[in-house]
Amino acid sequence: MADTFTLEIVTPSGILVSEETTEVTAPSTEGEFGVLPNHTDYITALKPGLVSYKKDDKDCVVVVGGGYAEVSQEKTNILVDYAKLATEIDKNAANEELKTAEATLAETKEDDSHYAKCKEAVDLAEAKIAGAQKA
């Protein structure tokens, strides 16, 4: 039995992470989930948050936007709109972003078609701040 598996984080602007790893946690719409080698085949939708994985016994954190994850025994694909290494996040910019996102959200009504998008922007900004603190 293999004790590692491949993690790929793919965004529209390219592949961000492609590593052998032993453990991954990711935020699904139903709550956080973890993946170890030989996980059962599994597909789920993701919400904005933090994906963390182990690389050479070090924890790496990636901030991701909405998307989905495809898990199979040897491979985990994470497909998201947005992904950035937590160490590369500018905390001040993220704070600014959160402020504008919250302001837009406050102006949008809950039954508006843009509401989901505004909510996601707020979640993403919060995830960025959380990621910056962890890094």
């Binding site: 719409t29 939708a45 989905y68």
Partner: protein, 288 residues
């Protein structure tokens, strides 16, 4: 016969133009390379989304999802065309091909009530004052980003779900090489998944449910399609401009060659004339 100075002035002006076209060609070549890199970078994401949609479509009941079909066999009445053009000109027939394609589509489908959404200033200028145009957006000729694709796709999906359109088409140029770009009309909605290569996903566990995943995935699929079209269109634009500027530079050097010939001939004629005058003047003096 133009005077020497006039010819010289024309040569100079053609040379200036040639310098501009040469520079534009170089810039387009660099931008084209970047656009191609973007296409390559976006490919893994697009492929994976496509595979999954095709596989999911097998596993679930596609009839149940609105984006896959509206559940009625009524022929479509209202079509929305999303036209992707460039913001700037000087790229040969790039924009006019696309615009002609849209107009031909409207002529050939008189039964459809067509509306046009426009990306890019060029088509906007063309369709100015026409009633068919609904959405108006611009995008810089620079690097198209995923947010723009999200926005365009979001609007298309919204108008489709609200029944203001029964079908949505994308009109854009596919990039084949720097020399050839082919304008195409591609159906965006309802989604027709590409079933050519599918993996069996029966064993997969879906959370919360296949339908819920499909709900997230299908709008994403539309976004990816739009994003790819934007990238292709941007690469095509730079390719078309490169070719156009290349032939413009060539024409300019041909013109400079021709003008230089005329100039030299005129110069020679002037010299000969002066010589003749001097000689005949000298001869006349000698005789007297």
């Amino acid at each position: 016969m133009a005077t020497l100075r006039e010819i010289q002035r024309r040569i100079k002006s053609v040379k200036n133009t040639q310098q501009i076209t040469k520079a534009m060609k170089m810039v387009s070549a660099a931008k084209l390379r970047r656009a191609q890199e973007n296409i390559v970078a976006a490919r893994p994401y697009a492929d994976k989304v496509k595979d999954l949609v095709a596989a999911l479509e097998e596993g679930t009941m596609p009839e149940n999802h609105k984006l896959l079909s509206k559940g009625s066999d009524k022929p479509a009445k209202k079509a929305e065309l999303i036209l992707l053009t460039s913001d700037r000109g000087l790229c040969g027939g790039f924009n006019s091909y696309l615009i002609r394609m849209v107009e031909r589509f409207m002529r050939e489908h008189p039964e459809l009530d067509c509306t046009v959404s426009i990306v890019g200033r060029r088509a906007l200028d063309h369709f100015k004052g026409r009633s068919e145009v609904t959405g108006r957006r611009h995008f810089g000729s620079g690097r198209p980003d995923f947010n723009l694709a999200e926005e365009i796709a979001g609007d298309a999906v919204a108008s489709y779900l609200e029944d203001s359109s029964d079908e949505v088409y994308l009109v854009y140029s596919t990039f084949q090489s720097a020399l050839t770009q082919t304008p195409v009309i591609q159906k965006l909605l309802p989604i027709i998944p590409d079933n050519s290569e599918k993996e069996a996903l029966d064993s997969f566990l879906f959370e919360p449910s296949p339908e819920a995943v499909l709900d997230v995935l299908l709008p994403k699929y539309v976004e990816v399609q739009v994003f790819r079209a934007l990238l292709e269109s941007s690469a095509s634009e730079h390719g078309a401009r490169m070719t156009a500027m290349d032939s413009a530079s060539k024409n300019a050097s041909e013109m400079i060659g021709g003008l230089t010939l005329i100039y030299n001939r005129a110069r020679q004629a002037a010299i000969t004339k002066e010589l003749l005058e001097i000689i005949s003047g000298a001869e006349a003096l000698k005789d007297s």
